[in-house]
């Protein structure tokens, strides 16, 4: 009986959605359901208000990218200018330099930074001593709690040409001190390596969770077949965490154009600016420092559209060549 009633209701839902049902019934059902849900609406009042005001209103404000913003007129009444700002952005030589910088930094981060937590997780998973594993995990997770400001100041302190730890080591080994932050060519390397230092332990936890879900029988079967530990990692562990790797990879490609503002802005100085200026810092400088609101919004919108397209493309490729993607 119950099952039947459920089926009936589902059937009706389907009809309603296809707008095949008589209107009166439809409206009454909706009204009744909404009345029955009244307590939920009351509970959702605060969350919904915050969501609409602080997440959706700024999205509405994106129309600024197609307008010439005049403070006096406000966002809504400023005149439309079509794609003017996008044209301006994409024809400016500085913009292409910024896009190139962003891409390079992201690709280096992805190439070097993406495998690091996987390696760490696999090693942790292989470790025979539980206590050793827990200790290493705890230590490597720690830098996640250090703020970006502190991280960057540690970089600056450590690479200081006279008193920095790194240069003390370099001199200790007979080399001559290197001005790491004062030379362009070290910038990306420092950015990526410190990123791994801070994030690898944190990201490894996700892979560890996936590894802990591997069916132990698979290991036993592999052992019986004479597989070495290395072979077991290649043929049991890695295939088991491939879905996790794939999902994280797709998400990472989505952020390829959105190098986070905080760290890069703090690491910028006059010497490295030509390779350290990325889209997020460019948007900040054009928008808030130069009050070029519309132009900066257009650059931001371009950035997020491309980012979304990247996720979409990677996802499609993943679905084409393997058995699944994000959606």
């Amino acid at each position: 009986m119950v099952g039947q009633a459920g089926a009936n209701r589902n059937g009706m839902d389907g009809l309603n959605r296809a707008s095949g049902a008589p209107r009166g019934i439809n409206r009454r059902t909706v009204w009744q359901r909404m009345r029955a849900s009244a307590p939920y609406y009351l509970l959702m009042l605060l969350p919904l208000a915050l969501l609409l005001v602080f997440k959706y209103y700024p999205m509405y404000g994106l129309q600024l990218a197609f307008k010439d913003y005049k403070t006096r007129l406000g966002i809504v009444n400023s005149p439309w200018v079509g794609l003017k700002h996008f044209n301006q952005f994409l024809t400016a030589s500085s913009a292409w330099n910024v896009i190139r910088n962003t891409l390079l930094i992201s690709i280096y981060s992805l190439l070097l930074g993406f495998p690091a937590p996987i390696l760490l997780a696999v090693c942790l998973n292989e470790s025979p001593s539980r206590r050793f594993r827990k200790s290493v995990q705890m230590i490597t997770y720690m830098p996640y709690f250090i703020s970006t400001v502190v991280l960057v100041s540690m970089i600056i302190q450590f690479t200081d040409i006279s008193s920095g730890l790194v240069n003390q080591m370099v001199r200790g080994m007979g080399g001559s001190a290197i001005n790491f932050m004062g030379e362009r060519r070290y910038f990306r390397l420092i950015y990526v390596l410190t990123g791994i230092w801070q994030g690898a332990g944190y990201s490894a936890v996700i892979y560890l969770a996936a590894l802990s879900g591997v069916n132990p029988e698979l290991y036993d079967a592999a052992t019986v077949d004479g597989a070495s530990k290395f072979r077991r990692i290649l043929n049991v562990d890695l295939p088991s965490i491939t879905p996790t790797i794939r999902i994280l990879f797709i998400l990472n490609t989505g952020s390829i154009l959105s190098v986070a503002f905080e760290k890069i802005y703090l690491m910028q100085n006059n010497i490295n600016l030509s390779i350290s200026e990325v889209i997020s810092t460019y948007i900040y400088k054009m928008g808030l420092q130069n009050s070029n609101y519309s132009y900066s919004t257009a650059a931001g919108l371009f950035n997020s559209v491309i980012s979304f397209a990247m996720v979409f493309i990677t996802n499609t490729i993943c679905r084409r060549f393997s058995d699944g993607g994000l959606w």
């Binding site: 029955a36 849900s37 939920y40 509970l43 959702m44 605060l46 969350p47 915050l50 969501l51 997440k55 209103y57 700024p58 999205m59 509405y60 404000g61 994106l62 600024l64 406000g74 390696l119 760490l120 090693c123 470790s127 050793f132 290493v136 705890m138 230590i139 490597t140 997770y141 720690m142 709690f145 250090i146 703020s147 400001v149 502190v150 100041s153 540690m154 600056i156 302190q157 006279s162 008193s163 730890l165 003390q168 200790g172 332990g201 936890v205 996700i206 996936a210 070495s228 530990k229 905080e262 703090l266 997020s280 948007i283 900040y284 928008g287 808030l288 900066s296 931001g300 997020s304 996720v311």
Partner: protein
């Protein structure tokens, strides 16, 4: 007896020399990783407790040399840092509380099948995971709400987090049996009662996860404050830190009478290490006690993914 023999036999079969080598290799990798991560932190701590000349002269490697706490004296006398600490504390507590309330309310409602409009709200949330208005529209919004240079700009914009809400929804769905809600309903429990007496008491650990992630996020962030605040009295700790550590805006001379440049430079160097320790200490001390919640959060998150 037999089991011991068996175990010995198994071990002998399992561990070929190649596997032993492999074990050694993974252990080595882990040791190097742990050392690489821990060493800079230990160095900062040791340097902050050493004398300026020991740090400048490169005599500090692992443990403090010429133990001294002059740097800490100076740090705690610095008004900016103290104000920053207090402000960060207020923003973190209020912001985290609001985030937890919003997350619990929405997470609960999103699991209720009789909530008409659930899918609409859910879709509205998911969209925010991929799209946002971006810097300028958000700034203009805060400005038009007259929230620039107010505590509200630090607390309200980040309160709704789709990620936290989805995490909580998944948790409630998977760990609180639906029968519990049904029987509460049969006993005459209202929706509010179900939230207050069924969902909330059973969501302690997910609320801990959300609270901790949110608190760490707020404590460590400087971007919002950097954009929305220009009043020095409202600066949170991270903005103060940026001024001191990266822009070098700390007057050492005001703290101690240091005439010659070398000593002055040494002291400023030392102060930075002490400032780093003082600002990171609350979280790093808390961390071992709450670690399991962080791991748990990632686990729930990955279940969903």
């Amino acid at each position: 007896m037999t089991t011991r023999i068996e175990r010995r036999k198994r071990r002998r079969i399992r561990q070929s020399w190649g596997d032993n080598l492999f074990d050694g290799l993974t252990t080595l990798i882990l040791l190097i990783a742990a050392a690489l991560v821990a060493y800079p932190l230990i160095y900062v701590l040791s340097a902050s407790f050493s004398s300026p000349s020991a740090v400048m002269g490169g005599r500090v490697w692992l443990y403090p040399v010429d133990l001294s706490i002059t740097a800490y004296d100076a740090v705690f006398q610095n008004k900016q840092i103290v104000t920053g600490y207090v402000n960060s504390f207020i923003y973190t507590v209020l912001g985290t509380a609001l985030t937890m309330i919003v997350t619990m309310l929405s997470g609960f409602c999103l699991t209720r099948k009789d909530f008409y409009g659930r899918s609409v709200f859910s879709a509205l949330l998911v969209v925010t995971m991929f799209f946002s208005g971006g810097l300028i529209p958000s700034y203009l919004l805060i400005r038009s709400l007259k929230m620039l240079n107010t505590i509200w700009s630090m607390i309200l914009p980040g309160a709704v987090s789709a990620w936290f809400i989805m995490l909580t929804r998944t948790y409630i769905k998977s760990s609180i049996p639906e029968e519990l809600f049904e029987s509460a309903n049969l006993d005459g429990c209202t929706v509010y009662g179900m939230l207050a007496h069924v969902a909330l008491p059973l969501s302690g650990s997910i609320m801990a996860v959300v609270g901790l992630y949110s608190a760490v996020g707020i404590w460590n962030s400087y971007f919002d404050a950097f954009i929305y605040l220009s009043d020095k009295k409202l600066y949170p700790l991270q903005v103060v830190l940026r001024n001191i550590l990266i822009l070098n805006q700390m007057d050492v001379g005001a703290v101690q009478d240091l005439r010659d440049l070398a000593t002055r430079q040494g002291m400023s160097n030392l102060l930075k290490y002490a400032v780093i320790v003082v600002s990171s200490a609350p979280l790093l001390i808390l961390y071992p006690f709450v670690q399991r919640y962080f791991v748990k959060g990632v686990m729930i998150g990955s279940l969903k993914g």
